[in-house]
Each structure stands twice: as structure tokens, then as C-alpha cells.
């Protein structure tokens, strides 16, 4: 069967299960958009290519499927860069198709020609340049396979316009031949035995659960492991939901803005079981004093993460779900009563300090609004965020009971991720309530996607926590720069009027007593809704481990 390169691309993508793509047209990608009309794929026209990349990423995180992005050559492709880097840092599966000029023009600085494979080399898991139509079928098959298997990540296909138009025989093969790509699955039995021995000897163990728990779908195995060995579980930002927040063994989030008792537990532990996490500096603090008395077991699918930041005693390289399934039957049951009591003591002390135990002082705090949202949504909403204080408060106070509910940029810390990723998440789960918790700074970075939400009828509820500051940087200035507020005060627009201009219903919330009504209004109004919360301007996220400080050297919330 003869087909054009562009048609072959869609034939293959439909076979990969693609039914939605996020993109922006342009000269060098026109044949792909044109061919798309003949296939059962819904195209979401974003207002900027960065929005398309974040939408595909949000879609991937909420659905577990591969997000697809389309952009044209040159500026279209370079506008994807932030979105691709964001997906790469958080191992989010994505396939980006960028148009490229005719292959015979490459290297000649043609109109809208950019070296896209060169630019994206360090921020993709792999990338391709297609110059002939007969390469398309194999490349698309490989791209999806690489994006979703092993440690997932973004793959980019730069697609020359002549190859899109060229007609060739379409031959499809499921098989991929990648001799250098063999993601590990099982860990060697000898290493499992070493790990089991360390667990048996441990008196103060802690599990560190990362994004890998969700990516590998090992939530059940994590819970079995934790309960069987009575080991408390601290989670990374992206690992939230791996174990329900209400579980008796949950320590909540660890790290820079983690729970003090989680960080104390890590620093005082004698064994760390790191599951699908990579000892990022935001979770370890000072590496030289990190968990000084702990032996360390690291279950990780990417061998290059082993010994990268923290040298471990037993690396178990493999798929987390598989490794835990192999290991659990080898383990006996254990109790760690003294250890659990010690942790309970730290926990009680933290609760006394919590902003949640403050009496109503008439002021509107983001943390309180987020907790009210948790109540209003029964903790069952998908929550996307931007980056900054509101993101940390969302992580701390929207107690994630379920996996794949938090859509947030962790490793890259990309402001502006929130709105487009929330729209993407809605495409993954139209039946669920999708909330965006954003800050005034982050929101304004990709605010243009409001009009995409309207065009698509995306049922995304938007809560903007407006403190007229770039709050997290302001907080650092407060703590470490003598309150010299350089470039952080921000005069925002009236977000309700921005919403109004888009025909989006909106409410302004300035007092604590208006919060719950506003959430009810948003929930009862179909389609996108904007709620603007004028929150306390100079509130800080606690606890805080200053950058590079010891993990238990935390700035705590002053006791009231």
C-alpha cells in the first residue's frame, strides 16, 4: 500500500494508541497536519508550543500513556525546549514531532531551519532525523518503544518536509531492533539476598519512595513491603500518592520542604531503602552528612543513577515492581516499635507547629485554602501546579491518597507548567475533577493557554494563589538576603477580568470565610472556572532545609 510519509506517521501513531495530539502548525509540518484529518486523532491547538509540550507531559503523567506533540521547524521546535527538558527531568514519556526543512536544504540556513536534533540531544532520551519516507514506520515504532519503556522520557523526531510528502510502500512491523537498548527487569538473586540481609538486621529502617513507584506501578508492592517489614515511608515530591497519605506508615514528603519528622527519620535511620528515586539535592541536602549511619539499598531502573549522588551498599538495578515482587517473598515480618515511637514523637511535635493548628486570625493563607480544596474534592481531584510556594503547599496540604493525581514539575522546576499540564491531564481523565493550583507568577507565564481551555471546553478549575510576589524567591530573600526584595514584587492583573475576557466564570476570594463557597461555585459551574485568592503576601513555606544544609538542619515554623 503506497502512502505519503505523513500518512505513514499517523498510521503508526494510531497503532501506538494515539488519539490526541497537542501542537501548533507551520510551514514545515503542514503535510503532517493535513494528513491528520484522515485519522481518528483530536488535535489540540495551543497558543504557544511550550504549552503543547507541557500539555502532552500532563497528559502522559495523568494517563500513563505517551503524550504527543507537533510543532513546526525553527522557532516552533525551539519553543518546545523547556517542555522537553521538563519531561526529561521527570522521566515523562513523550514523542515530539517537529517539522524540518527539505533534507537537501539542511545545513544551508534555510528559512526556519534550526539544528533541532542538535539542540535537543541532551534533553531527550533519544532523537531522530527522518530524511526519507521509508524510514518513518520504523522510527515511529522505536520512538514510542523508547519513550515508554525502561526509564521513560521524551523522544523527538525531526521530520524533513520532503519525507512527509514522499510516497512509499507502507510496511508496518511491531518489532524493534535496538541492540543497544535493553532495559533491565530483574535484579540478580545474589544482590536481593544481600538486601534482605540488611533489612533483617535493621532496627531503624526508612523507605524512600520516588516517582519510580508510580512509573512502574508498584504501589501495591510498596505497601506490602512497608507493612511486612513495618518500615515507614517518606516520599519525594513526584512520589506522592505512591503510598496513601493517610497510611499509618506514611511520613509524607521528604526533603527541602518535607515534613520535619520525615527528614529526622532519614537522618537517624540505620537503613535506607531507596525505591525509584535519584537522591536529588532537594531531597538530600548536604551529601556529606546525609543519613550518616544508614546502610543503603537502591532499587533503580537506570544504572547511571546508582552511586551518582549517594554511594550505596546494595544497588538493585531493575524494574521496581519486578524487583519488589521478587524480594517480598524472601523477607520475614519485622517490628520496629522503639523506632516507630521515636518517629511518633517527632510527628506530634510537628503537628503542634503546623499552620493547620492555628486559630482563624481572619487572614487568608494558601495552606488553608489548599486544605479546604482537599475537603471540597474529597481528596480525589487531579491537582496540577506551577512552581514555587503554592506548589510546596499543595504537596504538603493536599494529602494525596492516590497515585497519578499530582501533576507537577519536580526536577526541572518549570514555572508555567501548571495551566497547560492541567489541560493535558483533563484530556487523560475527562471524568475526573481537575484542579490547577497556581501562583500569580507561574500562571502568567503560560496564561495564554486559557483560550485553549475555552476552545477545547476543558473542565479545568483554576485556583490562583495571588500574593503579588514571586513568593519562593521572596522567601529566600527574607531568609538569606536580608529581606532585600530584588525583582520579586509583582503587580498582577485582575485575574477575574482576564478570565472574563475569555468568557470564563470567575470569583475573587479575599477572606477565609469565602473560600468554601468559591470552591462550590467552581464545582457547580461547568467548564473552566478561575478563582483568584488574594493570600497573605509574606508567608513562608516551612519547614525549610536551606540549600546545601544538613537535612535535619531545618528552619521551622515559629510556634504561635
Amino acid at each position: 500500500m503506497k502512502k505519503t510519509g505523513a500518512e505513514i506517521m499517523w498510521e503508526c501513531m494510531v497503532r501506538e494508541g494515539v488519539d490526541v495530539a497537542f501542537g501548533y502548525p507551520g510551514g514545515s509540518i503542514m503535510p503532517v497536519h493535513d494528513a491528520m484529518l484522515n485519522y481518528p486523532v483530536h488535535h489540540v491547538l495551543t497558543r504557544h508550543e511550550q504549552g503543547a509540550a507541557h500539555m502532552a507531559d500532563g497528559y502522559a503523567r495523568a494517563s500513563g500513556k505517551v503524550g504527543v506533540v507537533l510543532a513546526t521547524s525553527g522557532p516552533g521546535a525551539t519553543n518546545l525546549v523547556t517542555g522537553i527538558a521538563t519531561a526529561m527531568m521527570d522521566s515523562s514519556p513523550m514523542v515530539c514531532i517537529t517539522g524540518q526543512v527539505h533534507s537537501h536544504l539542511i545545513g544551508g540556513d534555510a528559512f526556519q531551519e534550526t539544528d533541532v536534533t542538535g539542540i535537543t540531544l541532551p534533553i531527550t532520551k533519544h532523537n531522530y532525523l527522518i530524511t526519507r519516507a521509508d524510514e518513518v514506520a520504523q522510527v515511529v515504532r522505536e520512538a514510542f518503544h523508547i519513550a515508554r519503556s525502561g526509564r521513560p522520557g521524551p523522544v523527538l523526531i525531526d521530520f524533513c518536509k520532503n519525507a512527509q510528502i514522499e510516497v512509499t510502500e507502507f510496511k508496518y512491523s511491531e518489532e524493534v531492533s535496538l541492540p543497544g537498548y535493553k532495559p533491565p527487569k530483574h535484579a540478580p538473586v545474589a544482590d536481593l539476598e544481600k538486601a534482605v540481609e540488611l533489612i533483617a538486621k535493621s532496627e531503624r529502617p526508612v523507605i524512600l519512595a520516588g516517582h519510580g513507584v508510580l512509573m512502574s506501578g508498584a504501589m501495591e508492592e510498596l505497601q506490602i513491603l512497608a507493612v511486612k517489614t513495618q518500615t515507614p515511608v517518606a516520599m519525594t515530591l513526584l512520589g506522592l500518592g505512591g503510598l496513601p497519605a493517610s497510611h499509618e506508615l506514611s511520613l509524607g514528603m521528604m526533603g527541602m520542604h518535607g515534613e520535619a519528622y520525615a527528614n529526622n527519620a532519614i537522618q537517624n535511620s540505620d537503613l535506607i531503602l531507596a525505591l525509584g528515586m535519584r537522591f536529588d539535592d532537594r531531597v538530600t541536602g548536604n551529601l556529606r552528612t546525609y543519613a550518616p549511619r544508614a546502610r543503603k539499598i537502591h532499587v533503580e531502573i537506570d544504572p547511571s543513577e546508582v552511586h551518582k549522588n549517594v554511594t550505596v551498599d546494595v544497588p538493585l538495578v531493575g524494574d521496581l515492581k519486578t524487583v519488589l515482587t521478587d524480594m517480598i517473598p524472601m523477607l520475614d515480618e519485622y517490628e520496629h516499635e522503639t523506632w516507630m515511637e521515636q518517629i511518633a514523637g517527632w510527628k506530634a511535635e510537628a503537628e503542634d507547629r503546623s499552620i493547620m493548628s492555628w486559630p482563624d486570625d481572619g487572614k487568608l493563607y494558601t495552606a488553608h485554602a489548599i486544605r479546604a480544596l482537599w475537603n471540597a474534592t474529597n481528596g480525589d481531584s487531579i491537582v496540577a501546579t506551577g512552581v514555587g510556594q503554592h506548589q510546596m503547599w499543595a504537596a504538603q496540604y493536599y494529602h494525596f491518597e492516590l497515585p497519578y493525581r499530582l501533576v507537577t514539575s519536580g526536577g526541572a522546576g518549570t514555572m508555567g507548567f501548571g495551566l497547560p499540564s492541567a489541560i493535558g491531564a483533563w484530556f487523560a481523565h475527562k471524568e475526573k475533577e481537575v484542579w490547577l493550583i497556581d501562583g500569580d507568577g507561574s500562571f502568567q507565564m503560560t496564561q495564554a493557554e486559557l483560550s485553549t481551555a475555552v476552545q477545547e471546553g476543558a473542565n479545568v478549575k483554576i485556583a490562583i494563589m495571588n500574593n503579588n510576589f514571586l513568593g519562593m524567591v521572596r522567601q529566600w530573600q527574607e531568609f538569606f538576603f536580608d529581606k532585600r526584595y530584588a525583582a520579586t514584587p509583582m503587580t498582577g492583573p485582575d485575574f477575574t477580568k482576564i478570565a472574563d475576557a475569555h468568557g470564563i466564570p470567575a470569583r475573587l476570594v479575599t477572606k477565609p470565610e469565602e473560600v468554601f463557597d468559591a470552591f462550590t461555585f467552581a464545582q457547580e459551574t461547568p467548564g473552566p472556572v478561575v478563582l483568584e485568592f488574594r493570600v497573605e503576601k509574606e508567608e513562608a513555606v516551612y519547614p525549610m532545609v536551606p540549600s546545601g544544609a544538613d537535612l535535619d538542619d531545618m528552619i521551622r515554623r515559629p510556634v504561635r
Binding site: 536534533t117 542538535g118 540531544l121 541532551p122 532520551k125 533519544h126 532525523l129 523508547i146 535496538l178 541492540p179 543497544g180 537498548y181 535493553k182 532495559p183 533491565p184 527487569k185 530483574h186 535484579a187 540478580p188 538473586v189 545474589a190 544482590d191 531502573i301 537506570d302 544504572p303 547511571s304 546508582v306 552511586h307 551518582k308 544497588p315 538495578v317 531493575g318 521478587d326
Partner: protein
Amino acid sequence: MQHTLFALVENRPGVLNRVASLFRRRNFNIESLNVGRTETPDISRMTIVMDSKDVDVRIVEANLYKLVNVIDVQDVTNQPAVARDLALIKVKADPEHRGEITSLASIFRAKIVDVAPDSVIVEIAGTEDKIESLVELLRPIGILEMVRTGQVAMMRGTGAGVRHTPGAHGNGNGKSH
């Protein structure tokens, strides 16, 4: 300590760039990198020499495996292996020094491959130490130009080099369930 790795990679456009980009991106300082064809047309072989006080060889190896086009990586340091470097050295050779250069070359089993009125080119293949020694002896005479290929290495017999990276070959190096 000097470490020598070799990597078998798919012979495709851009693979050298991927490896070089990885070294830059991860801040791996390398001493030499040699790329060439192998007995199999679709596979190229890279020999990478680095100093282990600058980089952790295990980390380099594990990162190489992250590249989809890298098929196998082996560490041949301290293994029964043959390692060779080739140098072309253009030496100032007025008639009074020509004899000295020729005799040095013959001691080192090097060859004079070009003779010009006031210079000669010496070709030498061997271990890096051997080449360094000859270079030091030729330096006082006057080295005008020098080019070296960087080291290439091959295991003796049927043995393989050391593979440090657990799980890099699928199911835990084949020693799994």
C-alpha cells in the same frame, strides 16, 4: 590512574556527537577518544582513555549505556589486553642530526616515512609509554609537528573486559531468575 574503555556503537550518523555531547554534559574529562570501523560494517568501535582521578569510570560506563546506540562497553584496564597508539612526528633534521634520528627510530622500531631537505617524519606505533619516551628523546633535536591517533585497545584471546554496570545487558547481566 589511566583507564581504557572501549565501546561498540551502532555505525550511524551522529553517534560520535552523542558520545561527545554526553561527556561534555556530564563534565567527564577524557584524555583520548578514538573511533573506527570494525569487522562488522554496522558497528563502530570507540576507545576512550580517561584518568580515574578525574572521573569515576563506572559512572562513565553507565552513562554510555543510556545512549540507545551504544551496544557494549568494556573496561580493559589491568586486563590482558593489547593497547596501541600511533604517532607521526616531524623532526627538524639538518644533515648532522639525521643519523641520530635514524638510530633512535631503529631502537624504538619506528620508521622514517618521509625525508625532506630539513626534516623527517617518524612513524611509531606502540604503547603510550613507548611513544612518550621517543618523543622526549626527539624533543631536544626539535619537534616541528606531531599528531597521535589516541589509544586503541583489544583483549587478548577470547576474554572480555570488565563490565561494571549492573543491569546494562537486560535482565541483570543474565545472572538473574
